[in-house]
């Protein structure tokens, strides 16, 4: 249940994992300790699923060449700029982009979590090019109730989800603080769930949380205690994002050499790691 980040990635994220989901939104609550371990171990995944808005975690994994296909609705850095490694990989064709929108991600995760065979989407969503660009994920069928045409999307059932929560107790019950975005839903839909936490929970602390802020331990495969482990992204109710560090990443990762230098400086260069 309680593992180091190295043990968790080594044991629970096999090379070639079919669908890896990574939580957090924008530059907040990215499970960076776990992501750094993936990069350090050069653990490749066939497909990465992001939250509705991904940032550093996705850009690092793509830049490190660890992702064949990415299913996403946004990878960027908001006011700080576009995602340099994602841009380079998508523009060269090094990574295949499976366009999604936040509705397909969230309703797809609901379907995955609830065992639904697929999910129907609200009328009007077929007017964007998202469903056209990703024909594997979307179909148009006849609504058996109304006879109207309806856009449907595949369920999302990640093999592994990496998410961040504030604290865990000894049985692996965890709770989220601040905004928890789609992290809880991602965990509920995934087969294997690794939760990175800031700290251990105090006695009675989890019982005092509201139901929608808690993920019970039977849904959690492993907990990794990693204080300040979301940096340079924020951890809600713990610390803000480190804007100078994010800017320095964005500057270096404009080129492949700079990206490699960033990995070197931040202890993620693969040389010297023994599996």
């Amino acid at each position: 249940m309680f593992l180091s980040s190295a043990e968790a990635i080594e044991r629970l994220v096999p090379e070639g994992t079919g669908l890896l989901a990574v939580g957090g939104m924008h530059m907040h609550n990215n499970p960076m300790e776990l992501v750094r371990e993936l990069v350090l171990r050069r653990r490749g995944v066939r497909r990465l699923l992001t939250s509705p808005s991904a940032s550093l975690a996705a850009d690092l994994l793509i830049g490190a060449g660890l992702v064949d296909e990415v299913a996403t609705a946004y990878i960027g850095f908001e006011h700080l700029g576009l995602a340099p490694a994602y841009r380079r990989a998508a523009e060269s064709g090094a990574v295949t982009v499976l366009e999604l929108c936040e509705a397909a991600i969230v309703h797809g995760l609901f379907a995955g979590a609830g065992g639904l065979p697929f999910t129907a989407l609200p009328p009007g969503l077929e007017l964007s090019d998202v469903s056209t660009a990703n024909p594997e994920h979307f179909h148009t069928i006849t609504d058996p109730f109304t006879g109207e045409r309806v856009l449907v999307a595949a369920p999302l059932r990640p093999d592994v989800a990496l998410i961040h929560a504030l604290a865990a107790d000894e049985r692996g019950n965890v709770f989220f603080a601040g905004a928890h975005f789609t992290d809880r839903l991602m965990a509920m839909a995934a087969k294997t769930v690794i939760v990175q936490v800031e700290r251990m929970a105090k006695a009675g602390e989890i019982a005092a949380q509201r139901a929608e802020s808690v993920l019970p331990g039977f849904l959690v495969t492993a907990v990794v205690v990693a204080p300040r482990g979301c940096l340079p992204t924020a951890s809600h109710r713990a610390y803000g994002y480190d804007e100078p560090a994010l800017r320095s990443y964005l500057k270096l990762s404009r080129t492949e050499d700079g990206f490699a230098e960033y990995l070197q400086i931040n202890g993620m260069a693969a040389a010297g790691v023994t599996a």
């Binding site: 064709g93 509705a103 007017l127 905004a179």
Partner: protein, 257 residues
């Protein structure tokens, strides 16, 4: 005699967007949305008391913006009247009868109000891979769509977007379930949409901007109105509220006017 007060392009745009909102409406916005958030808070404090707004991925409902912040998921936004979970926000967007105003934007925006935040150029090998549209497909279901862009040039304002992230008015048969785009607000002007053709129509020029300047910077030919007005400048009251919300000057990083 009126006193001339300097203001930034961002402040002017926030004031213009605030005047689009009405009391009791529900507005929503996505990533990089400090500008529409400021507009909503300004509207609540002036012409649209009782307005509701949902600040992007944070799920914050009526964030107090003390202060305005740059990221749409910043935990300081949770200092708000209420907070929803993100899955709840996405349910509400899907219902289609709750969101009156959707603030949208794009790397490319076209004459029918389509917005593209995805690939520019070819879909499989784009010349510019945009970040992605997040919730922009939902604009099809909103009461009306206010489009904003901090760039007004021919790369941004194009005849046809290369990829539709947020649907504008359809070119062919069939309509939108929602009301469609109502206004575009840029650093140079505002454009609305001709009710007959659903094509962009120049509405107002910002103070000091010429028609030539707009036409030069726009990749399509907007319909010209019978009478071209000047965008009213922010009032001293509006500016005073905006500056109280924004001590860091997020809205003042652009050019002064």
């Amino acid at each position: 005699m009126s006193v001339t007060v300097e203001y930034s392009t961002g402040e002017l745009m926030a004031a213009v967007m605030a005047r689009q909102l009405r009391p009791g409406e529900v507005a929503i916005m996505g990533a990089v949305s400090a500008l529409p958030q400021a507009a909503c808070r300004l509207a609540q404090l002036t012409t649209a008391p009782g307005l509701w707004f949902i600040a992007g991925g944070s799920g914050a409902v009526n964030p107090h913006l003390e202060p305005l912040v740059a990221s749409s998921c910043d935990e300081r936004l949770l200092n708000a009247d209420a907070v929803m979970t993100l899955p709840d926000v996405i349910l509400v967007e899907g219902r289609g009868d709750l969101i009156d105003v959707f603030f949208a934007g794009g790397l490319q925006i076209d004459i029918r109000g389509n917005c593209n935040l995805g690939p520019v150029g070819s879909w499989s090998h784009p010349t510019l891979r945009g970040p992605g549209g997040v919730g922009l497909p939902f604009v099809a279901r909103a009461g009306r769509v206010v489009i904003y862009s901090m760039s007004h040039d021919r790369r941004t304002f194009v005849e046809h977007v290369d990829f539709v992230s947020g649907p504008g008015f359809p070119a062919g048969p069939g309509g939108l379930p929602g009301g469609g785009p109502s206004l575009m607000v840029t650093p140079l002007c505002t454009m609305d949409f001709d009710p007959g053709t659903h094509l962009a129509r120049l509405a107002t020029l910002h103070p000091g901007v010429t028609l030539d300047q707009v036409q030069e910077a726009t990749g399509f030919a907007p319909i010209l109105p019978v009478k071209l007005e000047t965008t009213p400048a922010p009032t001293p009251e509006e500016l005073s509220i905006l500056r109280r919300l924004d001590p860091a000057g997020l809205l003042r990083s652009g050019a002064s006017r």
